[in-house]
Symmetry: C2
Subunit: 337 residues, 2 copies
């Protein structure tokens, strides 16, 4: 018997731009990597069994499988569906059922690539927030100039607009996250703003700054600009969901732009082209470290349960990586105990 | 006699993180590059003459100089000064006087590296907006995947929050800018949002989308995400100043991150290190095209006069580049006539 504790995840296999054709192969990759991972595949049973058959997992094999089970659902939350509509009408959706399994204690966490707004609304409704938390936030980590350090950023798109008190709560939540996940004693908390000077920005940001600086449990270090997200000046960067979402996606856009431009340039130089076999591994390593897929996966925090959101357009390797790397990091205690 | 028209610019030499030690050498580089450029140096006379002396321009030479003159001022708008305070009390500042010269018709445009908020407030007060324009906006161009194309983005930080009608006006202003500067017949106008789907984002963004789509003179193409800023999907991207500022500075942060990481990586690979002399020119070319200094300089549009804002921390080559390249582009008609 393996002495490690089993981690059970409820997986919304219907979510994402490509749905089960991405989520099912990723799920299989993930259970192969992690023998203590048990996945409950929530979704259309027929589609799931067809996808599993393509991977040589028959219904018979599945019945005896220790790491896989199916939770059949009849509805799907579409990627462009209004969150309020999904919440009201899609009670038998793969997303909703995956969340219900967490709420009922049958799974320790839920993972979805689906509609962020709907996932946020449903998770908020099903799991409820922790005491003192008004709104859950989407949090993820980004690379910094220092290879050994990353920076947490929240909110990344769960809340369009956040008032000062919600931003303050995000600061507290981010601080706890950095303490628990990275073991930082007093994480440096910064507010994303248009400038570092105290006069900059909107009134609600200035008010949030005041509230954070008045809490002696929080190591609030002040405003930070977009250009310093990666400077390792802060451990946690707080902003509203609109700004966070734009900043995160802009990062990905720039990384892709640099990648494309460098490929073209290296092709233009004849000598470099000839030496591609030497340069290529270095370039690959660089872009791997910058690849948004590496940072795919954000957690919804502030809830009475763990919910992980993967990019809707994540490919299977990114999604699998998320399952067995990002999750291992954020809920590693289940795997190591 | 040179048949080209003379372009007179009022230069706020006191602005920026480093002030005259950057602006004066840049001014000299610029007039040497552009024989039809005349600069009025607004600032502390003693400091200006000292800086000019370092560049071998004596007061006697200056008296007879066809391209340079000094407009002595006694006050400086500090970088962290409140815009309202600067507007009320700094009537003899280099920034204010440079704007006054434009308003009085003595200069065709004003250039400053100073406090963006103060420049915006003063320019708004001194020059007034064009008919139908409520708020001026800070606009600049960014690179795209297509080397021959750039994208205009506004607002980049002049207005913290913009309601739907202001965003709509920015769309119209951006469309005119792309038509006039790039000669695009029907520029593609997009609103920066959290997603491309019509359900995403805040109410004022949805309302702005409606207003833009109802104007048949505007080729409104819908929402665009941060990741697509550089995809050449739009000619003009509209957002509020907070979001635009964060997105722009995040771009610069990512570009710096990639640059630093690539330097380290190329050093780590022994063979690549040995071949640096071959790889370096390609890398340099790449980062030159990505360097934020290349895109230094944004114009305040919507005013009855031309105001150009350079980064407060621009170095002299970036600032000089701005003077003789960015300006040549945006008000090139004065130089070519």
């Amino acid at each position: 018997m393996n002495s490690q504790k089993i981690l059970t995840l409820a997986l919304d296999v219907m979510g994402g731009d490509k749905g089960p054709s991405i989520t099912i192969p990723s799920a299989i990759m993930a259970i192969n990597e992690l023998p203590n991972l048990h996945l409950i595949l929530c979704g259309d049973e027929k589609i799931i069994t067809t996808e599993l058959a393509l991977l040589n997992i028959s219904p018979q094999t599945l019945n005896q499988h220790k790491q896989l089970s199916i939770f059949p659902t009849t509805e799907v939350v579409e990627m462009d569906e209004k969150p309020a509509y999904a919440l009201r009408t899609k009670k038998n959706s793969s997303m909703r059922k995956a969340l219900d399994l967490v709420q009922e204690g049958q799974a320790q966490a839920c993972v979805s690539l689906g509609n962020t707004g709907a996932l946020f609304s449903m998770a908020h409704f099903v799991l409820k927030t922790l005491p003192g938390v008004e709104r859950p936030a989407l949090i993820s980590s980004l690379p910094t100039h220092d290879d050994d350090k990353h920076v947490f950023m929240l909110d990344l798109g769960a809340n369009v607009f956040c008032d000062s008190h919600v931003l303050y709560q995000f600061g507290v939540m981010g601080s706890v996250m950095a303490q628990q996940v990275d073991g930082i004693d007093r994480p440096r908390i910064a507010l994303l703003n248009m400038g570092e000077e105290a006069i900059k920005g909107s009134d609600h940001i200035k008010q949030a700054a005041l509230e954070l600086s008045e809490n002696s449990d929080i190591n609030y270090i002040g405003f930070i600009e977009g250009g310093d997200i990666f400077s390792n000046k802060a451990d946690v960067i707080v902003c509203d969901g609109f700004v966070g979402n734009v900043a995160l996606k802009t990062c990905e856009g720039v990384a892709r732009l640099v990648f494309e431009k460098s490929k073209t340039l290296f092709k233009q130089n004849f000598l470099v082209k000839m030496l591609t076999f030497i340069v290529k591994p270095s370039l690959k390593k660089l872009f791997k470290s910058m690849n948004p897929d590496q940072y795919n996966g954000a957690s919804l925090i502030g809830l009475r349960g763990i919910v992980v959101k993967s990019h809707g357009n994540a490919n299977s390797s990114a999604f699998s990586l998320l399952l067995w790397k990002q999750l291992k990091k954020s809920i590693g205690k289940y795997l190591k105990k």
